[in-house]
């Protein structure tokens, strides 16, 4: 088991290295650098000035050197001030060092955001915290509801409850966040006026009034999928021999479901819930933009829209890490929950 986890962690590190390299390459394509230079310099600058800005800020160094600097295996060089010829800070708002130092991800330095004029760490981690709160409430709503729907539907396959709940869960998987978000806003904010159509004020304090719509919108897309998986697993468990035995020895239907079926039926949904995280990530971006909630997704969109290299790299690192770690947890947890499966 331990060697399995270690090997998986090794693959994970390799995957993250490859992916950040790909992201690094794509962000540093010529048109993107041009865009960055234009947004960072004054209006109406000539092509030479743009080029000299890029050279001055170290964007014209070798690709691998710069990737190494970002990682922290190559020392970051201070830039040379063209006016005085002395070493200067690359970006003054980030307190960049004046002597060559190793300052990359390995050292815990995520770089400097050109859009927000601050260090990436000071932008990224509060945003992650905000998204964490959102995620917590989404999971707290989504998991119990979807498990309940799945169990009720799968308990008696083919019954009327099953049909109704199955169609309802199909409908919820067919409703992406930007559709349900619009519909909910129309109903609850514009028409009934019960809830706030914007979660911008949630950064100051979360209330039922400003936080329900984002949570509801995010949860509804996942509920259908998890419920269907739970239903499938429940249906399978209900046909097993031990369920029939339990029924034949005279237990009531309710206690068979609760005591014998539930525990076995909940193994599969665990994996599914874990694997939902990557999907939730896309949803988070949509919902945070739609309801103006300043979290991770909002930061990602800002970073991508302004070609903020270090911030976008930080965002990709975090999101790739989340995807990979949830995959690992789901594999290990599956083996843990189901003793019949032994990890090879």
């Amino acid at each position: 088991m331990l060697s399995f986890v270690i090997r998986r962690l090794g693959t994970m590190a390799l995957t993250m290295l490859c992916l950040t390299m790909v992201v690094f390459f794509l962000i540093n394509l010529e048109p993107n650098l041009k865009k960055l230079a234009i947004s960072q310099t004054e209006m109406h600058t000539s092509a030479e000035q743009l080029e000299s800005w890029l050279v001055n800020h170290g964007y014209r160094q070798n690709f691998f050197v710069r990737y190494g600097q970002w990682l922290g295996v190559v020392p970051k060089q201070p830039v040379t001030d063209p006016a005085t010829g002395k070493p200067a800070q690359r970006f003054s708002f980030c307190n960049d060092p004046l002597v060559p130092t190793f300052a990359g991800v390995f050292e815990g330095d995520f770089g400097c955001s050109t859009k927000f004029k601050a260090t990436v760490a000071s932008k990224l981690f509060p945003a992650l915290g905000a998204t964490g709160i959102l995620m917590f409430w989404v999971l707290a709503v989504m998991v119990p509801i979807s498990l309940l729907i799945g169990i009720l539907a799968g308990m008696r396959e083919g019954s009327r409850t099953d049909r109704v709940l199955s169609v309802a869960s199909i409908a919820s998987t067919a409703t992406p966040e930007y559709v349900s978000g619009v519909i909910f806003t129309v109903i609850f904010a514009s028409w009934l006026g019960w809830l706030n159509g914007s979660a911008a004020s949630a950064s100051q304090g979360i209330t039922f009034y400003n936080f329900t719509l984002p949570v509801m919108t995010l949860a509804i897309y996942g509920i259908g999928y998890i419920a269907r998986m739970t239903r499938a697993s429940m249906v399978e468990v209900m046909t097993q021999q031990y369920i029939r035995t339990a029924r034949l020895k005279g237990l009531s239907f309710g206690s068979v479901v609760v005591k014998h079926a539930l525990r076995n039926a909940l193994i599969a949904p665990f994996t599914v819930i874990m694997l939902q995280f990557p999907w939730l990530l896309t949803g988070v971006v949509i919902v945070e933009v739609m309801f103006r909630y300043q979290g991770f997704g909002y930061t990602l969109v800002e970073a991508a829209g302004n070609n903020d290299i270090d911030l976008l790299l930080g965002c990709s690192l975090v999101s790739v890490f989340i995807v990979l770690i949830t995959q690992l947890i789901s594999d290990v947890g599956y083996a843990f929950l189901n003793p019949r499966i032994r990890v090879q």
Partner: protein
């Protein structure tokens, strides 16, 4: 001059009557399918359940809407009539006397016509991209599952690499305007669009290599047709100027294929690993058939059930993806009538006007719902066998 309105009931009647070509086509297709359902194998069995009929119905409805878009929509989706800015549903356009059935949007365009034309974009890109993703996934998944070993390790690692990318980040990186100045989209298109040609060439070669009379005809057709479309799509150099794709749309297309082929790859690989232990595969191996013959003519036909179901779900998922792209304003032109872009435009103004937001959301939702219902009932029917 104030804008005249017709009543809500008349709007409903008018909308229903505007769809007349769709109703006729639906009636013909559904009627014949229903009458001959016994002879239509899996497709016919769909008509045994209510869910299946509803699924087929919704999918066909949008298919015919896309085909007859020009007849159905009263206005040009891009035309702006200044007086009709933000009008409510049922407003009569004074010059032509026609009605803005679902009202006008903030640029004074007809919401109804835009919804109808939006279906064209979705129904061209989503199934085509899914088709290409299937080709790529199958061509790579078959050897990975069949041979295992090093090929499998390398291909699986690559597939997991793409799958570990959050979709939204992938699109922000791949579908930016800047990237179209680089050769990356064309390079990727060049690789992806090669797969169908390889697939069909190997398919015919393994089957008919001892029957040159058939082989040469089929290979010739594949190469000429494939090469023609390939030249048109990748190099935009179709000599007849029929096959043509916007650089914008090519970029989206490639990104969607790139994002969804690893999923197909994983499914195909899993299916192949299961099926290759069957007796008929062992029999074919004993007969001395070549590995690719076994993969394409013994294993693949037996994996078709789950693949068809997956394809249906995947078209739905691609539709959602296209909507997401439109919602973030990535790739598609800002005035494009596709549903995602329309939802984005309308959702910014929800506080003042809600009517431009509802038609595209309901259209997108119903189409994906139709595909999911179709997939669900296909799965149920194929499990019965």
């Amino acid at each position: 001059m104030p804008v005249q309105y017709i009543s809500g009931f008349t709007v409903v009647l008018e909308v229903l009557s505007r769809f007349w070509p769709v109703w006729i086509a639906l009636l013909i297709v559904m009627g014949t399918s229903f009458a001959y359902k016994k002879k239509l194998a899996l497709y016919g069995q769909l008509f045994d359940s209510g869910v299946g009929i509803v699924g087929v119905g919704i999918c066909l409805f949008w298919l015919f809407t896309a085909i007859f878009a020009a007849t159905i929509s009263p206005f040009d989706p891009l035309a702006q009539v200044p007086i009709m800015k933000d009008v409510l549903p049922g407003a009569i356009e004074p010059q032509s006397g026609l009605t803005y059935l679902f009202g006008g949007d903030k640029l004074a365009r007809d919401v109804f016509s835009r919804m109808v034309y939006g279906s064209q974009i979705v129904l061209i890109i989503a199934p085509a991209a899914t088709g290409f993703a299937l080709m790529v996934g199958i061509t790579l998944g078959l050897p990975a599952g069949y041979y295992g070993g090093k090929i499998d390790t390398v291909l699986s690692f690559l597939a997991n690499l793409v799958l570990a990318f959050p979709v939204i980040l992938l699109f922000y990186l791949l579908v930016t305007p800047g990237i179209m100045d680089t050769p990356i989209p064309y390079g990727m298109a060049g690789v992806f669009f090669l797969f169908p040609i390889i697939f069909f060439s190997v398919l015919f070669w393994t089957r008919y290599k001892n029957r040159p009379d058939r082989l040469y005809i089929l290979l010739g057709i594949t190469l000429i047709l494939g090469g023609w479309i390939y030249a048109g799509l990748v190099f935009d150099a179709d000599p007849l100027k029929i096959v043509h794709i916007d650089p914008n749309q090519l970029n989206i297309f490639v990104a969607v294929v790139f994002a969804s082929s690893p999923g197909v790859f994983r499914i195909v690989r899993g299916l192949v690993m299961d099926i290759k232990t069957r007796d008929y595969v062992a029999a074919a191996q004993t007969r001395g058939e070549s590995p690719w013959y076994i993969m394409l003519w013994e294993i693949l036909p037996n994996a078709r059930g789950p693949l068809i179901v997956d394809a249906c779900l995947r078209i739905g998922y691609t539709t959602i993806l296209l909507g997401t792209l439109g919602y973030f304003g990535l790739g598609l032109a800002p005035e494009s009538p596709d549903w995602g872009t329309a939802i984005k435009d309308a959702s910014r103004l929800l506080r003042s006007f809600i009517h431009p937001a509802l038609p595209p959301t309901i259209a997108l939702m119903s189409f994906v719902l139709g595909l999911n219902l179709l997939a669900d009932s296909l799965r149920e029917q194929s499990m019965k066998d």
